[in-house]
Amino acid sequence: MSTNKLTSTKQLLAGAALAFALTVSACSSGNDPNGGSTTTVTSLTMAVSSSPSGTALTELAKDFEAKTGIHINIVELGYNDIATKILLAAGQSSATYDIVQFDSPMYAALASAGALASLENYVTSPAYGFDDFPEQVKDYARFDGVTHAIPLSTEPYVLWNNTDLLAAHNLKPADTLDQYVANATALGAAGLYGSDSGFSPTTGAYYWLEALYLFGGSLTKPGTCQSALDSAAAQAAAKFYFDMLPLTPATTVNAGGNGMTNAFIQGDVGQMVNATGYYSIVVDPEQSKIPQSFEMTLPPSGPDGRHTLMFGWLAGVTANSAAPEVAWQFLEFALGQQAMSRLIELGAPPPARSSLKDLPEAQTAIPYVDLLVEASAFGEHLPYTPVMSEIIVSISEVLSQAAADGSGADAFLAQAQQRAQSILAEAEVCK
């Protein structure tokens, strides 16, 4: 009796050990040491954000499934949750998302946390056509010298003009910052809004930094993590920005890009410098009062030539994806050189490939495509550092406060420099 009991206990333990071993091996099968997939992949998960680009990716996922049989589950993330959720997912042992869409200001945080796989070996594929991008756009896709993402949309800041208002006052679209100021002043004298700038306490800094880059300045001293907001260019940009404040719609004193665009499409604003990504809103007659009476031109040149900032969606493969090669196959399918017609057909603003200038579909659907490619060729990105969101909020806060209490450009700049320097002191990478 007792021997039988012992035997059955041994059998039970042996069975449990076998079951455990099988479970462990089953859970780990499919992944090779290099992260590649050794089994047939039947589905992937892609995180997209609500946007024309996200909608296009969702449709392209269906095309991909029809072609390859690989299903792509779509998870839609709110804009403010994207980085946090990808970062949290990066801490999991198995991939929550294989492919992710994110905005360029989130890039450094994601890449420095190790959430994104390197795409260096993939982007060289001829089918993708990385060399079709201007060097500035390729650089915009690199963090610390490594390509961890590819451009999904490219959105340089350009000059937006209300052509009716300018024509009614015998003004021409500004080619220089001096002309921009002159136009703004003339429109202001006529009781209109001559300019449109953002002073939001959380995102206003993007628009002031654009002014800084227009004047030839930069956030950090080249190649360092030291703030450069004490430069002559920064002083000129701050003075310019606060000089324009009385000529900007009151609503944007607490708003960022969306608020600026909403003010512009009401028809009382003569000009603004803003991202090309707002085109679909301004041209939409259901939202805009000026769908036919606006024009986009190169950003005004400053004392140091023509500069601008460049933003836009990026797409990448997560570092813990079990099937990075398949994930790349999808990205190449959706964003490769030959995929642009379909992307544009789906209503997404395209990445700034040089070949778009010769693509008839692009010329028809995106009248500003030549401008997009031209502006992207000299567009710069803000330094990629994980503390960028803290810098943006901190500068936005003092910008907003200076606008609200009237303390003006000098007070703003002194505080902005001090805060940026203090935050950058904690940063290790600023490239």
């Binding site: 946090t84 946390a113 306490p201 004193v253 803290e390 806060e397 907003s400 406060q401 609200a404 209490d405």
Partner: protein
Amino acid sequence: MPTSPVVGGVRSPHRSPIRRRRRLSGLAFLSPALGILIIVIALPMAIGLYQSLTNMALTRPGAPDFIGSTNYENRVFTASFGRAAGVTASIMVLSLIVQLPIGYYLALCLSRRIPASSVFRTILTIPMMLTPVAVGLMWRFLADPDLGVIRWIVSLVDSSAHPNLLASSSGALLLIVAVSSWSHIPFVTLMLLAGLLAVPDELYEAAAVDGANSWQRRWHITLPSLAPVLLIVCVLRLAGDYRMFDLVYTVTNGGPGSSTRNLSMLAYMEGLQYYQIGRACAIAMAMALLALPAFFAYRKVARL
């Protein structure tokens, strides 16, 4: 030598097997609830406390380092935290000052037998049904300096006026208080109305027979009868405004500058905008500690 605590030949009642069994069975019955409390409150608090002592950040791969009180020194004992605490206190106090008298007055009106009072009560509950984010966005639009209704109303009086509540520190704070009050006055009203309807009519009749005027009846009967309800209302509203996030986020986003950034917003920014979990936990722990005196004060008052 006795091995059990027998005093004067009588077994100590505290150590008697029956009492011990009862205590154990009581603990056994309580254990599921205690377990849940430990899992949902004590454990997260302990984890939060530990994380507040580390440099944990979502952008920093690997295990976080223990950094002692650095997060508290750099993020709690600072002017920025003090300002946020001041904003939080201002919102709490101003909201209560607005909500209690108006809620009390509306409750008094609704407690009378007026025609269609049920319709008024239904209308009154509408703001309570709306989600705070929708309320915040709606009010932000109403306060828009170019397109909002507030500007339009002011322009009826002075066409050149261009009020911009969102661009003024005090205006933005008052707007938050107004929106919070608009949302929560119905709750205050309904709670006080329930309290008012529970006061026996006989008390008022007896007071009237004794010659008390309406002010005396209100002061000596209504208010003392409502005291427990008032206390609950105050505590709930203060707690709600202490941890308010949604309205601040949607109406002013903490601006202009940091003039409406309260403690919840500060913790949110550190944790979910800057990805600094350790710092956010330090702020959250400080928030919990700051709330403790109020908790003990409430317990003391509630016992009276």
